[in-house]
């Protein structure tokens, strides 16, 4: 993806096949963009997915962009990836603000599009014809201030704060908690075949009658509805699940998200690039350094900045450190959900040790704001690498202890094996990502397949599961931590001396000492802080392999110091969207285990 200037050959074949329906195309920062006519978009996308030479089997993202001043200001953007061919293509549909804001839904092609399209509707007011369930997803359904990411929507909303509070408090908490919404009869036919079997087996529980003869009674259709969340210890944040039960069997589960919607992407349009970095801390707050790095890499590609070798290696260390601390919390909280408390304490002890390292480097335990565009906020202190090495050598012993405790435990095995299975093909179709995708047997890891930083020069393995159940997800994440330790130890060995910031006065502030004594530097410092650093017009989608999966940063610039669009492609949003597919037909207690295995973090899902 990086550096390529020749257009993706798919464009030429598309033109041949669809003629005038294919608009302009371009190669921007190594990615081919092709504009497709609104009327034919579904045909084009279906062909791209199915044609034997194309095979774009993975929908990385669906989003929209509104430009500040353009004749056709709205664009719907599809980021397509072919995992077998390792190819990437961005397909766009341009829309008139005055014309119908409607495009054809692609949920029938990629299940992963379901929530993504709902989000575009919610945030931009673009309808998707043929979408099975086009409701608001992040804002509540009676929200009537408009569509927040449109440019004519004021940052603070249309109403006064008192009015906003009044309307919010007036919301009906029991809304969408009724049999009507959950009617399983409508949905049954649409369920996959294996789920039919699972539901049938689960419901047909032999009971013993009064005369002690086993029989299968006619089970009534009285289903029970329960509401889990948004404030519940097993939902890992403010997730709400409305579950329809037949006895203990989950017939349907409908996740409601958006309870932590904080308007990150809107806020980003009002911030300079460096001012966005503190925002990225708070999206996936379990692995803040990795988010900082993902954003900085995207901004640097947009501005054409090369980072120094020392900065590159330090960023690799920070990425792997955040992978470990995120997986530590995952293992601890998942174990609590399945009934093992000790793991939580052991994992948090290790996490506290990692916090000490991060604190020594950045001054913060969690919200590190580690990077700056073009470099880092600080170099590591003296003796830090030694402490890191010591910690990295010690960590696998804790992991082995946890493995010994869980993997020989009948309860753990029974609760995790063959629970929440996703096949490889389905996992890709649902746009699962990260450990969830790999546990299902798809060996896709951005660090290997589209290497960034200097990942291509490290010796590490990508663990892949066989069955795609909760158990495999546990094994994959535990092994990922061990591989991260390997990478960290290699990185410490090779850490070169030198500056941490790029030698580029456009983006790097002059040293504070000069800014206080030298007029030129002071003006330079002042202008950079007050006016920000303009990025040349263009757009970039930069994927990085975060602990939760592929974090994509999609930045669109129109040449000013603030982005037109800052889109986060949230990995656990897509992983959570498949929860109904994984959990329906299992027991209620398995739903908790499956939900835990997804490794959600609501700050990133709701943004």
């Amino acid at each position: 993806m990086s550096g390529a200037t020749t257009p993706n050959p798919s464009v030429a074949t598309l033109r041949e096949r669809f003629g005038a329906s294919i608009g302009r195309s371009a190669v921007v920062h190594g990615t081919t963009i092709v504009v497709v006519a609104r009327e034919r978009s579904h045909d084009v996308l279906a062909w791209l997915r199915d044609a034997p030479d194309e095979r774009y089997d993975y929908l990385a993202d669906v989003t929209a962009v509104e430009y500040r001043d353009r004749e056709r200001p709205l664009e719907v953007v599809y980021q397509l990836r072919s995992i077998p061919r390792n190819a990437f293509l961005r397909v766009k549909i341009e829309l008139d603000a005055s014309g119908p804001l409607e495009v054809d839904s692609v949920v029938d092609l990629w299940q992963g599009a379901n929530w993504l399209e709902r989000e575009v509707w919610d945030m931009f007011g673009i309808r998707f014809a043929g979408h099975p369930d086009l409701r608001r997803i992040l804002m509540w359904e009676t929200y009537d201030e408009g569509h927040p990411l449109r440019k004519n929507f004021p940052l603070r909303g249309r109403f006064s704060r008192a009015e906003q509070v009044r309307r919010a408090l007036g919301a009906d908490l029991a809304a969408h908690y009724s049999m009507d919404e959950l009617s399983i009869a409508d949905a049954y036919a649409a369920l996959p075949a294996d789920m039919h079997g699972r539901l049938k087996d689960a419901v047909r529980v032999p009971l013993v009658s009064a005369d002690h003869t086993a029989q299968e009674p006619e089970l009534g259709s009285d289903h029970m509805l329960i509401n889990i969340g948004p404030q519940h210890p097993a939902t890992h944040g403010v997730l709400r699940l409305v579950v329809e039960l037949d006895g203990e069997v989950v017939m349907r589960v409908i996740p409601h998200i958006g309870y932590l919607h904080s308007g990150f992407e809107k806020l980003g349009e009002y911030r300079h690039y460096n001012q966005i970095i503190p925002l990225t801390d708070r999206t996936d707050y379990l692995s803040a350094p990795a988010n900082n790095i993902g954003f900085a890499l995207a901004a640097e590609r947009l501005m054409g900045i090369e980072i120094t070798p020392r900065c590159t290696v330090l960023r690799v260390i920070a990425c792997e450190l955040s992978r470990i601390i995120s997986h530590l919390v995952w293992a601890g909280t998942t174990a609590i959900d399945i009934g093992a408390f000790t793991v939580f304490l052991w994992m948090f002890q290790e996490r506290e040790r990692a916090y000490n390292l991060l604190e020594a480097w950045t001054g913060a335990r969690m919200t590190t704001s580690l990077t700056r565009v073009g470099g880092l906020m600080a170099d590591v202190p003296d003796g830090w690498t030694e402490r890191l090495r010591e910690w990295a050598r010690h960590l696998p012993r804790t992991l082995d202890e946890v493995d010994r405790m869980l993997l020989r435990n009948g309860i753990w095995l029974g609760r995790t094996q063959d629970v929440g299975v996703m096949s490889a093909a389905e996992a890709a179709n649902w746009s699962l990502t990260g450990p969830m995708l790999r546990a299902s047997g798809v060996a896709f890891d951005v660090r290997k397949d589209q290497p960034y930083l200097d990942y291509d020069s490290y010796d590490f393995e990508v663990p892949v599961g066989e069955r795609g159940d909760v158990y495999d997800r546990y094994l994959v994440r535990m092994e990922e931590m061990r591989q991260s330790v390997r990478i960290i130890l290699q990185a410490v060995e090779r850490l070169p001396d030198g500056p941490i910031n790029a030698d580029d006065p456009r983006v790097i502030l002059p040293p504070k000492r000069n800014a206080m004594s030298d007029m030129e530097s002071m003006i330079h410092h002042f202008k950079q802080v007050m006016e920000g650093v303009p990025a040349p017009a263009g757009e970039v989608y930069f994927p990085v392999e975060n602990p939760k999966g592929e974090l994509g940063t999609y930045l669109v610039s129109d040449g000013t110091a603030k982005p037109v669009r800052w889109r986060i492609r949230p990995p656990s949003f897509l992983n959570l969207a498949a929860l109904p597919r994984m959990a329906e037909g299992h027991l209620l207690s398995d739903l908790i285990a499956i939900n835990a295995s997804v490794d959600i973090v609501m700050g990133e899902i709701d943004r």
Binding site: R156, A168, L169, P230, Y259, R282, L345
Partner: protein, 201 residues
């Protein structure tokens, strides 16, 4: 005390008796067995977890029983940002908690909206529930939260069981709010850097 001679019990005080003010006794027991209702929403919840885990050990303050049901809780700890979509939820949880109850607002977002001065975020939970202690930080360190808890304990020790005004439930008014609309607007005013950082390009 010590016994001066066998049979002389003039200086003896029975170990079965303590004289104290009722307020002191009640407050002492309330302050040292606060059961927190952890309303964890975002980053602060992770620091709350760290506070509850082994290194900082919340149990030292009589808080080892984290209540996940509001009906068995004394102190609501709002750990993290509170979007408008969540506003009716925290209010219902607060209403479900029995008296006596207190509230700690953990972190910048819960206290003021923090860096999220936008359409989605409640600008301080004090527009919705009454707050006893505000803990600053983004997120606060566990020591910060512990200090906030100790401040709350101090506050509780100054209360009186005979003051009925302390336990009055604040109910929704005719505007559908808990404060005057003007007061909500004033509390939600941007301040500091927030005033300047929200200009569009």
């Amino acid at each position: 005390m010590e016994l001066t001679a066998a049979g002389d019990r003039s200086g003896f005080v029975s170990p079965n008796w303590v004289t104290t003010r009722l307020d002191d006794l009640v407050n002492w027991s309330r302050a040292n067995s606060l059961w927190p209702m952890a309303f964890g929403t975002a980053c602060c919840a992770i620091e709350f977890m760290a506070t509850a885990a082994s290194r900082f050990d919340l149990a030292r303050f009589g808080m080892e029983r984290v209540a996940y049901s509001p009906r068995q809780a004394d102190v609501l700890i709002c750990a993290g940002r509170l979007p408008f979509k969540l506003a009716p939820v925290i209010r219902r949880i607060w209403d479900q908690m029995p008296q006596p109850k207190w509230c700690i607002s953990m972190g910048a977002c819960a206290s003021t909206g923090g860096i999220f001065d936008n359409y989605a975020m409640v600008q301080g939970i004090d527009t919705i529930v009454p707050v006893d202690v505000y803990v600053p930080g983004c997120p606060p360190r566990p020591e910060g939260l512990l200090y906030g808890i100790m401040l709350l304990q101090k506050k509780i020790k100054g209360e009186s069981v005979f003051d009925p005004t302390l336990r009055v439930e604040q109910l929704v008014d005719q505007n559908g709010l808990f404060l005057e609309p003007a007061a909500v607007d004033e509390l939600s005013e941007p301040f500091g850097n927030s005033v300047h950082q929200t200009r569009s390009a």
